[in-house]
């Protein structure tokens, strides 16, 4: 966008700037409804939680460096181990993938000017922040959740866990689910209704397919978790007996409900990573994805089949053989859509002309780790093997290869890939590669020996272990690996921070990307696109003629929509231009509403029911304010 514009076009751009401008300073960040600024808020917040979860991981590894250590007391270990899981899953991976990457990129990739519900979007962020602080308040007041991230009853019941630790967990997760649900609904509507004219479903970027699948999975999976936590709170606080054996309750009910959420959750975590991989690979191999329709379908199928496999987390609880055999078969079926995607990536790499820059290196690392984690995952679909190895370090190895290797590696590669777009600066290539190799070697050294030590019989979640059972040296290696891994991540942060201030200035499209976000300036203006782009393939940036036409349209004043806060809506399947939407402007109400919800949860936790009702009333009032008529804009 450095080309000098004719005066007519320049006037339109100035007008767009005026219309879409938000407040400056801190107040601007608090009241923003710009999906990009919200994405950045999500990014920084989730990275802070990543830091917390990482420190917890290092504490665990330091405690387990040798037998019979006492870096952590047993109680501190249990809290650290629980919070490592809770933090990484609920406060890091989901918020950074949907909140940061999804928020920033989905509207840009589909050529929209914002999410469908900008204020709901801001609200999702503030609720996420509130829920994260809520859970960590427990940790800092000495009541950190301590029954493991899947919080099995009766260990989590009031009998065996008096005190508020588990209440912080259960209420915190219900609270957190509000954020994710709102965000998911927002994505579904945005992806279905806000695509640029011409972006029919078969031309939609695979990245957006992944987020569509994730959003549907979130909407259907989260209620199971929320209901489970509501039951638990009723048991704990009001003496109900959903989970109380001997009083008509059943301890397995918790596990079923938890995993009905928990397994789709695994795909919720990994699908955004798949989406990022399918963005980075075509760019750096300079070719289209092989088998595009199959990959799109596979992304949707993974999310769908993921709902039918939950009991494979429960093969050791004594379910009937026929039940376990069904769930094992269903779990095996998930392998197919995953294998389709894997070989689509590999074939694209083989047939393309890959340039091994930092973002692609992270994707190669992802592919290697995903294969290792996927293969050990298939082993767990062999019921007797699962029953032998579940709840050992073998399973810890498996899901860290999946969650860290396969889900987080693309996120880190994505940080590098879109860093120029978001900041307008280039990252340092050499340091980027070094950070990759350190993290890759560190991860392999941390997580690979866990397979072996698991096979040698080491159960997970023990705060220490005896000498002489053959586990010592592996644990030492794992701890060394964890510190190398941490060094790689620190280097990544240093690279990005230094580059933000001193990096070379980035062009609009430094890598030759395929999707629309590369057509606008780096960083993009608040209105994203001066002209709403028209799309005629799944790789709109490689359709040079279309992009030149956008520039001509700006001169002619077509599809500029500068009459107000406007963005077009299109039809669901074919993305024909449908109508012009008048978008709401920035507003303080989302944060106020989120604050009231925080008040409600804090009062439930402390048992102040009258005060809770006051917050409930204030919540209703703030909703009214949110929907109040605002003065017409100039």
């Amino acid at each position: 966008m450095t080309i000098a514009l004719p005066p007519e076009a320049l006037r339109r751009v100035r007008r767009l700037e005026r219309v879409w401008e938000e407040r400056q300073g801190v107040l601007g960040w608090i009241t923003t409804t710009d999906h990009k600024r919200i994405g950045i808020l999500y990014l920084f917040t989730s990275l802070l939680f990543f830091g917390a979860g990482g420190v917890e991981a290092l504490l665990i590894r330091t405690q387990l460096i040798a037998p019979n250590q006492s870096t952590l007391s047993p109680a501190a270990f249990d809290t650290t181990m629980t919070m490592h899981g809770v933090t990484m899953i609920f406060l890091f991976v989901i918020p950074i993938s949907t909140g940061a990457f999804g928020n920033y990129l989905v509207p840009l990739m589909i050529g929209a000017r914002d999410m469908a519900f900008p204020r709901l979007n801001a609200f999702s962020y503030w609720v996420f922040l509130g829920s994260g602080l809520f859970i960590y308040t427990g940790v800092f007041t000495g009541h950190g959740p301590n029954a493991g991230w899947f919080d099995y009853v009766p260990l989590a019941s009031r009998t065996y866990n008096p005190g508020p630790a588990i209440d912080f967990y259960a209420l915190g997760l219900i609270f957190n689910a509000i954020s994710s649900t709102a965000a998911a609904i927002n994505f579904i509507v945005t992806i279905f209704k806000m695509r640029a004219p011409g972006m029919s479903l078969n031309r939609m970027p695979l990245f957006c397919y992944a987020f569509l699948a994730v959003s549907f999975a979130l909407v259907f999976a989260l209620p199971a978790l929320s209901v489970d936590c509501v039951f638990l709170e009723l048991d704990r606080r009001l003496g109900f007996s959903f989970f109380a054996p001997g009083r008509g309750g059943d301890v397995l009910l918790w596990q079923h409900l938890f995993w009905i959420f928990g397994h789709p959750e695994v795909y919720i975590i990994i699908l955004p990573a798949f989406g990022i991989a399918t963005s980075i690979i075509p760019t750096f191999t300079r070719r289209r994805m092989v088998a595009f329709p199959m990959v799109a379908l596979a992304e949707i199928l993974v999310a769908f089949i993921g709902f039918g496999v939950w009991a494979h987390h429960m093969f050791a609880v004594g379910l009937s053989t026929i039940t376990t055999v069904y769930f094992a078969a269903a779990s095996m079926i998930v392998v197919i859509p995953s294998a389709i995607q894997l070989f689509a990536w590999l074939t694209t790499l083989v047939t393309g002309r890959p340039i091994f820059k930092t973002p692609l290196l992270w994707i190669i690392g992802f592919i290697v780790f995903f294969i290792i984690g996927g293969l050990s995952g298939i082993m767990f679909a062999a019921i007797p093997f699962d029953q032998q190895l579940t709840d050992t370090y073998f399973v810890v190895a498996h899901f860290h290869f999946i969650i860290f290797g396969a889900a987080v590696f693309p996120l880190l590669g994505g940080l590098y890939y879109w860093f120029p777009k978001v900041t307008g600066r280039m990252y340092h290539e050499g340091m980027g590669k070094l950070s990759f190799w350190l993290t890759f070697v560190g991860s392999a050294l941390t997580f690979f020996p866990m397979h072996i030590v698991g096979l040698l019989g080491m159960p997970r979640r023990q705060y220490t272990y005896p000498a002489g059972v053959g586990w010592d040296s592996y644990n030492l290696f794992e701890t060394i690996g964890a510190y190398i891994l941490a060094a790689g991540l620190v280097l990544l942060v240093v690279n990005l921070v230094v580059s933000y201030f001193r990096g070379a200035v980035a062009e609009a499209d430094p890598f030759g990307g395929a999707t629309l976000e590369w057509s606008t300036s780096s960083p993009p203006p608040p209105y994203n696109y001066a002209v709403i782009p028209t799309v005629s393939s799944a790789y709109p940036m490689w359709d040079v003629e279309d992009r030149q036409e956008d520039v001509r349209k700006l001169n002619r004043g077509e599809m500029v929509l500068d009459e107000g806060h406007e963005t077009p809506a299109s039809t669901v399947l074919d993305a024909n231009f449908d109508e012009i939407l008048d978008m709401p402007s920035d507003s303080p109400w989302p944060i106020v509403t989120a604050l009231m919800i925080t008040g409600i949860f804090a009062m439930i936790l402390t048992g102040h029911l009258v005060a809770m009702c006051v917050f409930l009333a204030l919540f209703a009032a703030s909703l009214a304010g949110w929907h109040g008529v605002e003065p017409q804009e100039a």
Binding site: L155, G318, L342, L349, V368, I371, A381, F385, Q388
Partner: protein, 336 residues
């Protein structure tokens, strides 16, 4: 790139070597002492071999991608979108489906039946194990024998183990003898234990059960039948009255200083059910679920400060005088 791979290979080799030469107190899933575990081990090596082939294949593809990074298309074929899609169908659908069907029949129809819970009456002998925070209560139905943490079974005899829990969820796992099965309050489960060699097999709780999950181990002793019968006969017998005056005094300490409210010693008035049965304490090799050896010194320090070795366990420190302590130890030394 090549150097990085070499280094990675070297590290992996070092890691593999690091674990060799350990044998004391093994708890390995790779050493089977029963048909069930051997079947699972064969399954594992088979799956590992198949997985290694897949992994190597993927690495070869990545290597080709790197070598041909300036050339488009497939080696020898060139650019052909249909061939590329065909490869995805072959490797992403056809081959996995075939492999999975084979694995399904071997593992989930075959091995699963061999390791499933014994049907009622299928075994001649049953024992019952109850999980507690943090020890294992072991009973021998049909006898009065009760013990803790150290389970004796006759060698080469299938034994049904009935599993329940007194509090939270635990998981019964002796990896060299069979798979693990959870011990759930309200859902009785069962498992077959069989050992084809005389020996001691280490096991451990496999489901996170709170503060001292790490110190909830057990040992299964597979004894020759005669030795087993003698052990069981002794175990079923109530305690003979203590002989020495010091031990007699120690019994009184036991009965008056709270010990009896948690522990049972059959043949005395102590009938507590919170802690392990101590009737034949001295027949056990370890204390606190395999946490420390059962010697006079360790037993003494355990009684002096039970929260030091296993913080969070349910045994309180007792304010005993030195004399009471010596008497109690003398009494406990006689629980043979």
């Amino acid at each position: 790139m090549r150097r990085a791979l070499l280094a990675a290979g070297l590290v992996c080799t070092l890691i593999l070597l690091a674990g060799c030469g350990q044998s004391q107190g093994r708890q390995s899933t790779l050493h089977g002492a029963s048909d069930q575990t051997r079947k699972i081990i064969h399954l594992w090596w088979g799956m590992l071999a198949a997985a290694a082939v897949v992994f190597a294949g993927a690495l070869v593809l990545l290597a080709i991608a790197y070598r041909r990074r300036t050339k488009e298309g497939l080696p020898g074929i060139g650019e052909d979108e249909e061939v590329s899609t065909g490869l995805v169908v072959a490797f992403g659908i056809v081959i996995p489906v075939v492999c999975l069907i084979v694995l399904f029949f071997i593992a989930n129809i075959g091995v699963v039946n061999a390791t499933s819970a014994p049907k009622p009456g299928q075994t001649k002998m049953s024992i019952s194990v109850v999980g507690h925070q943090w020890f294992w209560e072991v009973r021998y139905p049909g006898t009065t024998a009760v013990t803790a943490n150290e389970i004796h079974i006759p060698v080469k005899t299938p034994v049904e183990v009935r599993l329940t829990s007194a509090d939270v969820i635990h998981s019964f796992w002796v990896p060299e003898l069979n798979k693990k099965v959870d011990m759930l309050p309200g859902h009785p489960n069962s498992l077959e234990l069989y050992a084809d060699k005389v020996g001691v097999y280490r096991g451990q709780c496999a489901e996170f059960c709170g503060l001292q999950h790490a110190h909830m181990s057990m040992a299964v002793y597979a004894d020759p039948p005669a030795k087993y019968r003698a052990w069981l006969a002794n175990m079923a017998r109530p305690l003979a009255p203590p002989a020495s005056p010091q031990a007699k005094a120690g019994e009184q300490v036991f009965l008056t200083q709270q010990c009896e409210s948690c522990h049972t010693i059959r043949g005395t008035a102590a009938k507590g059910l919170i802690g392990p049965d101590l009737t034949h304490l001295q027949t056990r090799a370890t204390l606190a679920a395999l946490t420390i050896p059962n010697t006079k010194g360790y037993l003494g320090s355990w009684i002096r400060d039970p929260q030091h070795i296993k913080p969070g366990n349910k045994m309180p420190g007792l304010n005993l005088t030195d004399l009471q302590f010596q008497q109690l130890l003398a009494f406990l030394e006689g629980l043979k």
